[in-house]
């Protein structure tokens, strides 16, 4: 029994089923993406009891009795208005192909909870556990500053 984005799910699964595959294939929450399955790229990052973890480095059975939050949870099922962090990514062009974005958002939610006004170095260190091949990270940093301190992106 696991709570995902506030909803309770009860499933019987094989012990070796990874949490990432459980969320994507059993529950159809395909917003969590899989990029490496060895804990480096961060695309699969979700929250377990409010803390960011690699869902590819956990078996689904280990989430029994715990609360998981995925990117779909930021807009209650993907339909609602954008979360402020999502709106900042849109405003600052903090994404291009978008494949790494869910993992980055779920990394940043607890980070901003613990560091409401981070400086550039703290933001970049917080992001260093999520790989992005398209953006060069610059506009992601700008999005986080916009979300935390309202600093508009250095647009021309």
């Amino acid at each position: 029994m696991v709570t995902v984005n506030g909803a309770r799910y009860e499933r019987t699964v094989e012990p070796r089923l990874l949490l990432s595959d459980f969320l994507r294939n059993e529950l159809g929450l395909t917003g969590t993406h899989v990029g490496c399955e060895h804990g480096v790229c961060g695309a699969c990052t979700v929250l377990l009891d409010g803390e960011a973890v690699r869902s590819c480095l956990m078996f689904a059975v280990q989430a029994d009795g715990h609360a998981v939050t995925t990117v779909e949870g930021l807009t209650d099922g993907g339909g609602g208005p954008l979360h402020p962090l999502q709106a900042a990514f849109h405003e600052a062009h903090g994404l291009q192909c978008g494949f790494c974005t869910p993992g980055i958002l779920m990394t940043l939610v607890p980070f901003l909870r613990d560091h409401p006004h981070p400086d550039e170095r703290e933001i970049r260190e917080a992001l260093s556990g999520n790989l992005c091949r398209c953006t060069g990270y610059q506009n992601i940093v700008a999005a986080v500053r916009l979300a935390s301190d309202g600093i508009p992106t250095p647009g021309r």
Binding site: P15, L18, H38, G42, A52, L57, S128
Partner: protein
């Protein structure tokens, strides 16, 4: 990259876990944070038939004062150690090393005992444990024993733990007065395994000379390496830049026979041992002198080196 099948147990107590490990013998492997084991299972490099998941054993997760030292449960999350004021006061070296361990997403699940029992020569905690003369409490169905850090690490991913034996606690002795510690590592990227890392503990006598020094190096052999030659250079000497340099050169030339791999040649690792040991000792001496009485000053800048 999906793991091979296995039988899964999630015991609630240490004794249940030990019984399962005894029953399944070499087929069984304990699962702690999983941040090293599960990648190996996904690559199918590791294929344990039985996994004994320790994450339900609440009794193994704690940070307690132990006199003026520390006792940390083996299943304590690395993140909890990183955020603990008790650790920051009693073992500033451990506190300073934590942010260098991978990334928060890994430290939220990774455990102290898991990392130590995995015994990766490039991991931070084994070197920190060696520098702090940590003692390891191991338990099995037949009994319990204490293992000093110097005898715990046996080689590449090898420890003194016998089949069916579980690491349950580590005990860090109190830092003597007038001590200073420093942790420093050089990694290609923030959060990567280090090319070379140094955990240094120095203690000054009443006259300010170096009474004791333990310099543990990581990623320079098949386990954490105590730079004993470097320690002899420091013994009884007054801290000075030249002394730290000499100790660094001695550590590089006599204490290590570093490996070459795709990230760093042996010669480059030797250079890093010399430079990082010197920089770590300078910082440790500075903290010992500044601390002078107050246990090793809490590291001011939490920025890990890179």
């Amino acid at each position: 990259m999906k793991p091979a099948p296995f039988d899964y147990f999630a015991p609630g107590t240490v004794d249940e876990a030990l019984a399962l490990l005894a029953e399944h013998g070499h087929e069984a492997k304990p699962l702690a944070g999983g941040q090293s084991l599960i990648p190996a299972m996904n690559f199918r490099l590791a294929r344990p038939q039985v996994l004994v998941d320790l994450n339900q054993v609440a009794a193994l997760s704690y940070i307690r004062a132990n006199g003026s030292g520390l006792a940390i449960g083996a299943m304590t999350r690395q993140r909890a150690v990183e955020r603990s004021d008790l650790v920051a006061r009693a073992a500033p070296l451990l506190a300073e090393a934590m942010p260098s361990i991978a990334h928060p997403q890994i430290r939220n699940r990774g455990t102290v005992g898991g990392s130590l029992a995995h015994a990766d020569p490039s991991a931070e905690l084994p070197a920190v444990a060696l520098a702090l003369e940590t003692r390891f409490r191991a338990k099995s169905v037949t009994g319990e024993r204490w293992i000093p850090a110097g005898e715990f690490f046996k080689g590449m991913l090898e420890t003194a733990l016998e089949p069916g034996e579980l690491l349950v606690e580590i005990a860090i002795p109190p830092l003597p007065a007038r001590s200073g510690t420093a942790f420093l590592e050089m990694a290609r990227r923030h959060g990567d395994y280090a090319l070379v890392g140094v955990a240094a503990v120095v203690t000054l006598d009443a006259s300010g000379r170096c009474q004791a020094a333990r310099v543990a190096l990581l990623s320079v052999g098949d386990g954490p390496v105590l730079a004993s030659e470097a320690a002899t250079v420091l013994a009884g000497q007054a801290p000075a830049a030249e002394l730290a340099r000499a100790a660094g050169e001695r550590a590089a030339s006599r204490d290590v026979d570093p490996p070459s791999d795709i990230h760093a040649s042996a010669a480059y690792r030797r250079r890093l041992v010399a430079v990082l040991t010197r920089r770590a000792l300078e910082r440790a001496f500075e903290r010992a002198e500044k601390g002078s009485g107050e246990r090793g000053a809490v590291p001011s800048d939490r920025k890990p080196s890179s």
